[in-house]
């Protein structure tokens, strides 16, 4: 069972602003019945001031989708369009006192519907018809959306991207593409500060992540120089590795270890210390 906050339960059981505003000035429709959730947002907008006078929603979806939609309408009412455009999915989740990680895509759906409605009001084509490249075919998630959600929420793993956008949660064929997008984003910038996340890794997850980074980031480079590396043990922040093949006795060993440590600190946890075991 999901651990929903009181706010989610309240807005799910007694949603506010249900329905369609009469003669709406803006309509935003996102999601589909195939994907399992969909939201139709209608807005009444004061043309003079650009202020949102009324907002209503219709949602097909689970409790958190309904609560997120209702929260969205509460958040936008009385705001100008420009103010409304600053609302992020995180604002929606915060309004609800938080959402389970796996349900964050519900808040993203709310933000998308708002963007779509405002684009509709301003006479722009909705993203879906703009020829954007669809990465996840199962849930029709575009590259633009994935990039936006990754940067705004500082996501670093495919699993997180799936929780926030659903992308990769179906057949899974797009997972390498999502990995490539993640890489392309975070390779250019320093990794985001995420103290909350690193503390929540279980030991097993941490070991798996370290193994993964070694396999994908470190081994190929060492192997290119006829070297190799093996993960021996992880004890708290201490990561013990063995250098193999041409790395054994290589005078650059110390530099290599430092580089591995930097990479692991960047991608796994900032307190990692790498030690080489000699055999």
């Amino acid at each position: 069972m999901w651990e929903y906050t009181k706010q989610v339960r309240d807005l799910f059981l007694h949603p506010k602003n249900v329905g369609e505003v009469e003669h709406p000035d803006a309509v935003g429709e996102v999601g589909s019945i195939i994907c399992g959730d969909a939201l139709k947002l209608t807005l009444k907008i004061d043309k003079e001031t650009g202020r949102i006078l009324d907002a209503k929603f219709q949602t097909f979806g689970c409790a958190s989708a309904i609560a997120s939609s209702s929260a969205l309408t509460e958040l936008v009412k009385g705001k100008t369009l420009d103010e409304a455009l600053n609302i992020t999915n995180k604002d929606i989740a915060d309004f609800l006192g938080g959402l389970p990680e796996e349900k964050m895509h519900c808040s993203v759906m709310g933000q998308e519907a708002l963007d779509a409605a405002i684009a509709n009001y301003r006479g722009k084509a909705p993203v879906r018809e703009s020829g954007e490249r669809v990465v996840c075919k199962c849930f029709e998630v575009t590259e633009e959306k994935i990039r936006k959600v990754i940067t705004e929420n500082r996501l670093t793993t495919v699993e997180e991207v799936t929780n926030y956008t659903k992308a990769g949660g179906g057949c899974g064929t797009c997972i390498p593409e999502i990995e490539a997008i993640l890489k392309s984003i975070w390779a250019l910038k320093p990794l985001p500060e995420k103290p909350k996340k690193s503390g929540r890794l279980t030991n097993l997850q941490k070991i798996a992540l370290i193994q993964d980074v070694i396999e994908r980031e470190i081994r190929p480079r060492l192997q290119a120089d006829n070297g190799d590396i093996e993960l021996i043990d992880v004890e708290g922040p201490q990561v013990i590795v063995a250098l193999r093949a041409m790395c054994v006795g290589c005078p650059m060993g110390g530099v290599t270890i430092k580089g591995i440590e930097e990479k692991l600190r960047e991608l796994v946890s900032s307190d990692i210390v790498v030690e080489a075991r000699t055999e």
């Binding site: 799910f12 059981l13 329905g19 019945i33 959730d37 097909f60 979806g61 689970c62 349900k103 199962c138």
Partner: protein
């Protein structure tokens, strides 16, 4: 929380009062190890034997054809693995697209290990394609594993017909009967099945106990290897209290068979028919003829299952859903998808599964509160509004 109206018995059942009572001495004073040389432990042997006899009796088996396991999943994994171990040169497995994960995901795992797996399709009523089954059989087939009755829809498969074919061809046949045992009569004397899985907590015994029937003469290889327990067919110190509990549960189940079946199907049919009549765009998933007496799977189109469940939860009504959101996965039930249930109905499926402890007042409560919930959620949904015009959910 007030006493729940518990209609989720295919997920798990309450421990019957008789079962708990039978178990308690073995959790208190009779804590010995049945393998011990002293009388204190050794006295448990005859009691375990009596429990084994009761389990065997429920399915018309011989006591030494039963081994106790930790759960239905272990029984399933053991059966499939054993068949592969005793047929090392045969690398083909046949199962279905609607199996329980204990077989379905295990077979997918074996496929990744290099085994060839055929997942048989079902039709839109959830019925197995026998045509596809005949075509899939070949000389490489080590085992066929097909569930007796589906956990989500209750649809019963033609196990006897399949078993007869396999017996002629000398191919091992396992059936996951976790949902069938205790709900419908089974007789291993006439049923042509080599191995059969059952689970305690689906028939009012506690969680953590299961059994595997292995027909006498069937070549077998253990899955859990260690001590000599269960005649070296399943290592691990006997879970004495739970084995006693499973025995008692099987005995109670056997005593109640005739009356329970009629009681369950009467309540189930009342629930199903009322909901179909009082909610627009409701449909039953699965064959309504060859079906377990306690199960109904109904889709309410244009609404989402988790939302329905949480609204029901406000009344203390417990059911389950094949919706993606309800499971934590992003994709809806593999069973309903294999059946080709339309997307408008896929996310709004609700399974009610009854037990002998349900009564008519509980069913009436569901019939009273669910139609307004559906109506309310339909009003929230952007879909299916045109169909709603003129129709009122009472």
């Amino acid at each position: 929380m007030t006493t729940p109206i518990y209609l989720d018995n295919n997920a798990t059942t309450s421990v019957a009062a008789e079962v708990l009572e039978a178990m308690l001495p073995y959790l208190k004073e009779l804590y010995g190890n049945a393998s011990s040389m002293h009388t204190f432990g050794g006295q448990l042997g005859p009691r375990l034997r009596a429990a084994r006899e009761k389990v065997a009796a429920l399915i018309g088996a011989e006591p030494d054809e039963i081994i106790f396991t930790s759960c239905g999943s272990e029984s399933d994994n053991t059966a499939v693995m054993s068949a592969l171990e005793v047929n090392p040169h045969k690398r083909h497995i046949i199962t279905t697209r609607v199996e329980h994960p204990a077989v379905y995901n295990f077979c997918k795992h074996l496929a990744r290990k290099g085994y060839r797996v055929t997942f048989l399709p079902v039709d839109n009523m959830g019925r197995l394609s026998l045509d596809a089954f005949y075509k899939a059989l070949d000389d490489e087939t080590a085992i066929v594993s097909i569930m007796y009755a589906n956990n989500e829809t209750g649809v019963i498969f033609p196990i006897e017909e399949i078993g007869t074919v396999l017996k002629e061809r000398g191919i091992l046949f396992h059936t996951d009967a976790v949902q069938a045992v205790g709900k419908i009569p089974l007789d291993m004397k006439t049923l042509p099945v080599d191995m059969l899985s059952l689970s305690g907590h689906k028939l009012h015994a506690p969680k953590g106990i299961g059994a595997l029937y292995i027909r006498k003469g069937t070549r077998f290889y253990p899955y859990i290897i260690g001590g000599h327990q269960e005649h070296s067919r399943r290592a691990g110190t006997e879970n004495v209290a739970s084995i006693i509990g499973l025995g008692e549960a099987c005995k109670v189940s056997m005593q109640q068979f005739g009356t329970e079946h009629a009681h369950l199907s009467m309540l189930r049919d009342k629930l199903e028919n009322s909901l179909l009549a009082n909610c627009p765009d409701a449909r039953v998933n699965g064959d309504r003829v060859d079906r377990l007496p306690n199960t109904t799977n109904i889709s309410f189109e244009y609404v989402e299952g988790e939302a329905i469940l949480l609204r029901l939860d406000e009344y203390g009504i417990c059911a389950s859903s094949g919706s993606a959101c309800a499971s934590g996965a992003l994709e809806p039930s593999h069973v309903l998808r294999a059946m080709g249930v339309p997307f408008t109905a896929l996310h709004g499926s609700i399974r009610f599964s009854l037990s002998r402890y349900n009564n008519e007042a509980e069913i009436d409560k569901v019939i009273e509160v669910l139609p307004p919930i559906i109506k309310d959620l339909r009003m929230l949904s952007p879909y299916g509004r045109e169909n709603l015009a003129g129709q009122v959910c009472k």
